[in-house]
């Protein structure tokens, strides 16, 4: 029955079947399970069996200032990191968008932060940020500026972490924008030059609109990942000092694996998932609306 002919005739179903079954078992089922847990008061530390409590876990979580703090920090971190990456990435791409000796080497070099293990990077930056022996304060002093406590300063920890994210991911936006720039047609440029447009006008009215879809894709990919940032934060501050760098991802992790308040953890995870999903849908719709 399961000979070559059978597979041939039903390829449309059988080829994707293993991947679909795997995804159902390891993704769809777990998500439904999380959804169920979020409606219970399951607490592993209490040792009691989970009880179905409808939205009580959500109510508990939403009543916690710590949750809303984490929510705001998630948006703040994502906002500053992705904004800086986008501006820098596009500028880098514009600088590098020409033929020159060593271009391939530089593109290869930009891959390095992208593939370097985030945990190791986070730990290394802990040394860079060390107030007395770190290179970061040394650099500040070089420019006559006062040293900072960086990730040990509750008011500065999120920007300091965003700097690590910017270091790691600006190359991605630059490379995607470069790929977008490489695919642009030369025609509008020629006619603009004939019409006597200056460099800034050409950039603003021709390059930017044409490369916008590529940049927007990069921003979407980055935002989705930045909202979920875990490794960099966990390996440097674990959400501290205090809760000053606790984002939703870290908060949910702590609820799950440090406090074992599974019902509440699941509720907060459902919220995070909804946040990421609605953000993706929003960007997709925005793109269609703008006709990009």
């Amino acid at each position: 029955m399961l000979d070559g002919k059978f597979l041939d005739r039903h390829a449309k179903v059988l080829f994707p079947l293993p991947a679909v079954l795997f995804t159902l078992a390891l993704m769809v089922f777990p998500v439904l399970y999380t959804l169920w847990v979020s409606f219970t008061n399951w607490n592993l530390a209490s040792g009691l069996p989970p009880r179905f409590v409808w939205f009580k876990s959500y109510a508990t979580v939403f009543a916690e200032p710590r949750f809303w703090g984490a929510f705001v920090r998630t948006l703040y971190f994502t906002g500053i990191a992705v904004a800086a990456e986008t501006v820098l990435g596009v500028v880098w791409a514009l600088v590098l968008n020409r033929e020159f000796v060593g271009k391939r080497t530089i593109k290869a070099m930009m891959l390095l932060p992208l593939v370097a293990t985030p945990v190791a990077i986070g730990i290394a930056w802990t040394l860079f940020y060390e107030p007395t022996i770190g290179i970061a304060n040394w650099a500040l002093k070089l420019f006559g500026l006062q040293g900072s406590r960086w990730i040990a300063d509750p008011d500065f920890v999120l920007p300091a972490l965003a700097i690590i994210d910017v270091w790691q991911w600006t190359p991605l936006i630059a490379l995607i924008t470069l790929a977008g720039l490489a695919g642009l047609s030369q025609e509008p440029y020629e006619s603009a030059r004939v019409d006597g447009a200056n460099g800034w006008q050409i950039f603003w009215h021709i390059t930017l609109p044409m490369v916008a879809p590529a940049v927007l894709t990069a921003v979407l990919l980055r935002s989705i990942d930045a909202l979920k940032t875990f490794d960099i934060i966990y390996s440097t501050t674990q959400g501290g000092p205090g809760f000053a760098s606790e984002t939703l991802n870290i908060y949910s992790y702590n609820l799950s694996f440090n406090y074992f308040r599974l019902g509440q953890a699941a509720a907060s995870l459902v919220f995070l998932f909804a946040l990421v999903l609605s953000f993706s849908a929003l960007v997709a719709r925005l793109r269609r609306r703008l006709g990009l």
Partner: protein, 270 residues
């Protein structure tokens, strides 16, 4: 004159990109060869006598070879499974325009890892699979599979339909056509997908942090555990960082064309 000035300005601009990108990695590498005295010196020392003692510590006192092997086992297995599941699915999605399937698998890319990790932890605990390679590999396939499908479906879309049809006229089955014609033409895509899914597994921290213990501990966890000591041995930590980052970089440099293509694909595809 003006031309030379222009070139100088350009070179300067390029330096403003290159230095910030490269410096942190160079500093990690330099620090990994410093003694504790050199590393804790203030201001930081640029010139020092290099030592191998940090690497000795990483491999002698800590069992880094074992963690290295664990990471390799998990990375290679997860990549192979991702390819075995993802390649036929990607072809089917491209060939039959199964956009809903595509969407399902891409949701895995968007999903926050912890939303899966919590149920996995509960289920794998019940099945006695915590600290098993099986659980770790399955978790890492959720990283690799969406990548393989995402990258390969766009490669398969570019294979002209005539090639497939002429093979079928000659009496070849779909699976035969897929294995002996379509896959070989799409080999650049396969290299891209393979490299990226291995890297994603190699670098993954969160899944292993919860699902692995003593036996299956992977490198990212081992590096992380280094800093949980009271007095941080910075030199050894930096050596450990080099041990985990270096293979990722070597692999990337070897396949750089493919990695760039894979990472920037979204832009062209839209």
């Amino acid at each position: 004159m003006k031309k030379i000035a222009g070139k100088l300005v350009f070179a300067l601009l390029v330096l403003f990109i290159v230095i910030p990108v490269a410096f942190p990695l160079i500093w990690i590498l330099m620090s990994s060869f410093k003694t504790q005295v050199d590393i804790t010196a203030s201001p930081p020392r640029w010139l020092f006598e290099p030592t191998l003692q940090n690497y000795e510590k990483v491999f002698r006192e800590q069992d880094f070879l074992k963690f290295f092997i664990n990471s390799t086992i998990v990375g290679v297995s997860a990549t192979l499974v991702s390819l075995a599941l993802g390649l036929p699915a990607a072809w089917s999605i491209a060939r039959f325009k199964q956009t809903k399937l595509n969407l399902l698998i891409l949701v895995a890319r968007i999903m926050p890892g912890i939303a899966l990790l919590l149920p996995w932890f509960l289920i794998f605990s019940r099945l006695g699979l915590i600290d098993s390679y099986t659980a770790l590999v399955m978790a890492h396939v959720i990283l690799g599979l969406p990548l393989v499908v995402w990258i390969m479906s766009s490669f398969f879309e570019q294979v002209p339909l005539e090639i497939e049809e002429s093979a079928r006229v000659d009496g070849a089955t779909r699976q035969r056509t897929f294995l002996s014609i379509i896959l070989p033409i799409s080999s650049p895509g396969v290299v891209t997908a393979t490299t990226l899914s291995f890297l994603f597994s190699w670098n993954n921290f969160m899944f292993s942090q919860v699902l692995s213990m003593e036996r299956t501990r992977t490198l990212p966890i081992a590096v992380y555990n280094f800093v949980s000591y009271a007095e941080i041995d910075w030199g050894a930590v930096m050596a450990a960082a080099v041990v985990i980052i270096a293979p990722a970089i070597v692999l990337t440099m070897f396949f750089q064309k493919y990695v760039i293509r894979g990472l920037t694909m979204g832009a062209v595809k839209g």
